[in-house]
Amino acid sequence: MRTLDYIAPESAADAIALLAEHGESARPLAGGTDLIVDLKHSPGNIHILVDVSGLEEFRGIEETDEGLRIGSMATYAEIMENPICLEKTPEVVAASHTVGAVQTRNLGTIGGNLVTCVPSADSAPALMVLDAEVTVAGTNGNRRMPIEEFFVGPRKTILQPHELLVDIWIPKKNLGKPSSFYKFGLRKGQALALVNVAAALELKSGKIVEPRIALGAVAPTPIRILKAETFLSGKKPTKKNIQEAARIAVTESKPIDDFRASASYRCQLIQTLTQRVLTRSLEIATAS
């Protein structure tokens, strides 16, 4: 590996200043489970690593009046064991369980997963269906945006080189919202998703309210299926309506052919798994 300068700044402000100073030659280091692989194979222009994994501003998981805050440097292992996440965002926990293997989850962070921004990022759909927002910090201060706006393309986020993902917020009204996540990979363990999908919805007076559907690995970024959400909103939870929503999800997706699976196989997965997570969310909504 090429020579690198490892720096562990004392604060988020110091980290941002370092990144602003060094531009493209510096990269923030979180869990390292993706970045260090990249550094071995295609280090590009990176010469400086700014370790943000220990910074207080990016750590912790807590519930406030506003909702649930997950620090970007929370590891998957921390999320999986956190009592608030287990109770109020069980599908974010479920998605965390499917990431890599135990060694990955002990180091890998939810923020790192989002910033790496691969289309198959497992945490993304589970967060998107809960209307998660993200806070970004840079030299011009902090800004907050819906998580969908954060993803720009494969391995490309909205972040400028000097900016860092601070935390992820799930609004209070969506904590405990009936939701379901499903990941389909070629193996049960340590496999990238061929398709991952999440749904969330409420039932009011026998009608579907505020439905959300998000899919990963089916387009350049994780995507919400807004047309299917609009279709389901106010509808009765019939099998036919669920099937139609899933059909819309297929037409709204743009899966690729690659060595893992063909696009047509992925389309069948989208149909089946979207139905499955919607049905499961309805079961949870009916039971609660």
Binding site: M1, L4, Y6, G32, L49, V102, Q103, Q190
Partner: protein, 159 residues
């Protein structure tokens, strides 16, 4: 720019203070600088699990961690499992259950198993299969490994 860092860590209970190159992975540090060659390097990209060690009790891949990141940490490698007199209960169980053939993957499996057993003895086979999914064995297969871990969990001799 400085391309080295001073670190103070504990490795298998011993204090180690060194100046290390920032590009040095923990795996290379353990193997080349400390001569703890029980930590094996297979894929070097975080897939095979052969380089698994414990950092502050958590199983991690030492090929995907820089030594510089670990200032203040406690590292356990396979060399730290056995005492002077006795093998670690997991090592004995691996022997009894023919859980190794060539042995290349064994240190990684032992440390992954050590982490899960440090959390609970209430482990069924499914949980163990899931827990060791980040460790790959290419010769003897997994059943003996699972049997060995189940045996230690049942005996409650770890914790």
């Amino acid at each position: 720019m400085t391309y080295t860092s001073s670190i103070g860590i504990r490795v298998n209970g011993e204090v180690v203070e060194r100046e290390v190159e920032d590009r040095l992975t923990l795996a290379d540090f353990l193997r080349n600088e400390l001569r703890l060659t029980g930590t094996h390097l297979g894929c070097e990209q975080g897939s095979c699990g052969a380089c698994t060690v414990l950092v502050d009790g958590s199983a991690i891949r030492s090929c995907l961690t820089f030594a510089s990141q670990l200032n203040g940490a406690e590292v356990t490698t396979v060399e730290g499992l056995a005492s002077e007199e006795d093998l670690h209960p997991l090592q004995s169980a691996f022997l009894r259950n023919d859980a190794l053939q060539c042995g290349f993957c064994t240190p990684g499996f032992l440390l992954t198993a050590a982490e899960i057993l440090s959390e609970t003895n209430d482990l069924d086979e499914g949980t163990i299969r899931e827990a060791i999914s980040g460790n790959i064995c290419r010769c003897t297969g997994y059943q003996g490994i699972i049997d060995a871990i189940v045996e230690v969990a049942r005996s409650g001799s770890e914790r």
